[in-house]
């Protein structure tokens, strides 16, 4: 019971201090809108292409929303030593890191719902497979958050976390089938696509909206879960190795 009080308050503090601040709320709304608009202008397509664009916009909104926040909630707090306060509290490290990331996961899920809500006013989404879409959004948010965590605990400075995040984020936009089909990628890039978690998340989203998929949804979910566990485990190893020296 006591450790859950700590868990809840760490999450709540991060939500109040970081995620619910006006710049982040506006980012969560403007960012998906900008991406959607950009692709409409570029492709010159009509409203019918929204369902093709939506999985990519949802995925990119989650990816950027989650990974950009971890540099502040983790790296910045470590840098200004307030993270030490958490490390010295009687909370298991696993639970502490889950508490620190749960705010980002919720923020990622909320970011994902913005483009969906906008699309719902424009096109008919009643055919979407929501039972696959919603768990996929949660898993993409978790895996993106843990990717951000992995980077945040591997560096010492906030700018390093931002820089390294970009090394992962921007290639993922092009390699994970968000807007460009993996099938059309050069053969030598395809293995790289299959090694990135977002490929599997976007595959489920695409299946939810358009019924198109590269892999069976069960495989996509399985791979995403494995990525989540692996990234979280590697992050914990890094915290123990680098921060509790």
């Amino acid at each position: 019971m006591k450790i859950w009080i700590a868990f809840w308050n760490i999450m709540l503090k991060d939500m109040r201090t970081y995620y619910l601040k006006p710049p982040n709320v506006s980012w969560g709304i403007i960012f998906p809108l900008a991406w959607t608009g950009m692709f409409f202008i570029k492709t010159g397509s009509g409203l019918e292409s929204i369902l093709t664009l939506l999985p990519g916009v949802v995925a990119v909104s989650i990816l950027f929303g989650t990974t950009s926040m971890l540099a502040v909630t983790v790296t910045f707090e470590k840098k200004n030593r307030s993270f030490e306060r958490l490390l010295m509290a009687p909370i298991p490290l696993e639970l502490l890191m889950l508490a620190k990331t749960s705010g980002a996961i919720l923020f990622g899920v909320a970011n994902a719902l913005v483009p969906v809500a906008i699309a719902a006013f424009i096109v008919n989404l009643s055919q979407a497979a929501w039972s696959a879409f919603l768990p996929a959004v949660v898993l993409i948010a978790v895996v993106s958050t843990f990717l951000g965590l992995f980077i945040a605990v591997a560096v010492s400075e906030v700018f390093e976390a931002q820089t390294f995040s970009n090394f992962f984020r921007f290639p993922m936009i092009f390699l994970c089938g968000l807007f460009f089909p993996i099938a059309k990628l050069p053969v030598f890039l395809k293995p790289l696509s299959y090694a990135l978690p977002l490929t599997y998340g976007v595959d489920i989203l695409r299946w939810s909206f358009a019924g198109q998929n590269l892999f069976p949804p069960a495989l996509d979910f399985g791979v995403l879960v494995i990525f989540c566990v692996l990234l979280f485990w590697l992050s914990l190893i890094n915290v123990r190795k680098r921060w509790i020296v």
Binding site: M1, K2, I3, I5, A6, W8, N9, I10, K13, T17, N80, R81, S82, E84, R85, L86, L87, M88, A89, P90, I91, P92, L93, I244, V245
Partner: protein, 324 residues
């Protein structure tokens, strides 16, 4: 169980450099234990190992009877920590910071709010309760950091340089708060480079130099050898180079040293006459600016044991942590 902290053969190296080399000590229940040493002596590394922020390379740590060597988390509920830098959340108010720290130790909402209000009141911060921590003065930040360290009523409190970088009035208030906590029965582990602060507050003191404890004893026993000494300090301008030799030759019963440039320190078992010393100095072209009797203090013992000038150590620390 009389011992709150038992440390045996604790060792820690960073990239081949020994930061703590086989440190052994105990802190008794309810004791205010001072841990003194120059910068880089291993004080903070020791505290970090005791509080779970660093892993020892060797040795054992028992806190409140719990073996924390393998699992530092095991005794963290017994311990409160006030780090050398105020590391609360800048964007939260004083009240919210305290409530958050209490929640980390599993305190319920009603209890933590009441406790936070009480501590803000006790620490003279009630009027600043709803102001952001980032806007506090250094002294207020220090007091709130101490309040955060004791919000969960820990049996053992680690205080790392609690008065560094704050003004004299705030430092006095902080020392009073520490004395009050000690009186209430909290075991306190205090590191400081203000030797007079340790002398005033602590029951026992350990001197650590280059990662090794060179002496542990009560303040009373540490001072005993110099307590009966008579000490005189003479400040001079234009001091000739051979003044030390001339003084020793003229006054063989007295001990002379030069703790700083232009300063002569005289020690004797009997009261020292100022007149003959001043006359001799002036005869050799030295211009005596001031001559005063000095009460022997723990600082003298510290200098004897460590060979480090306390004033130099204080200046170095203040340069790093912001002057007081």
């Amino acid at each position: 169980m009389d011992e709150s902290i038992i440390v045996e053969d604790l060792a820690k190296s960073f990239e081949g450099v020994e930061a703590v080399a086989g440190v052994t000590f105990t802190v008794r229940k309810g004791e205010l234990f001072g841990f003194l040493g120059p910068n880089g002596a291993g004080k903070t590394t020791t505290i970090n190992m005791l509080t779970g922020l660093a892993r020892p390379d060797a040795g054992t740590i028992r806190i409140g009877g719990i073996d924390c060597t393998a699992n530092p988390k095991a005794a963290q509920h017994l311990v409160g920590v006030v780090p050398d830098e105020s590391n609360l959340y800048q964007e939260l108010t004083g009240f919210d910071n305290l409530c958050f720290c209490a929640a980390l130790y599993g305190m319920g909402k009603t209890e933590r709010r009441a406790r936070a209000r009480k501590l803000l009141d006790n620490f003279g911060l009630a009027r600043a309760a709803d102001r952001r921590f980032g806007g506090y003065s250094k002294g207020m930040k220090r007091k709130l950091t101490i309040a955060a360290g004791i919000i969960h009523r820990p049996a053992i409190l680690f205080l790392d340089e609690p008065t560094t970088g704050i003004d004299v009035a705030s430092a006095r208030q902080v020392r009073q708060l520490i004395a009050d906590l000690h009186r209430e029965g909290t075991t306190i582990f205090l590191t400081t480079h203000y030797i007079e602060e340790a002398e005033r507050l602590c029951g026992r003191i350990a001197f650590i130099v280059s990662g090794r404890i060179v002496r542990i004893d009560t303040v009373e026993r540490l001072i005993q050898p110099i307590k009966a000494k008579h000490v005189l300090q003479i400040a001079c301008a234009n001091m000739p180079d051979d003044v030390h030799a001339r003084l020793t030759e003229a006054f063989p019963d007295l001990e002379f040293s030069e703790p700083a440039n232009g300063l002569i320190r005289v020690e004797a078992d009997q009261p020292v006459g100022v007149g003959p010393l001043v006359r001799l100095l002036e005869m050799h072209s030295a211009e005596v600016v001031e001559a005063k009797r000095v009460r022997p203090s723990l600082e003298d013992i510290f200098v004897r044991i460590t060979g480090i000038e306390a004033a130099a150590m204080r200046k170095e620390k203040e340069r790093k942590g912001g002057g007081r």
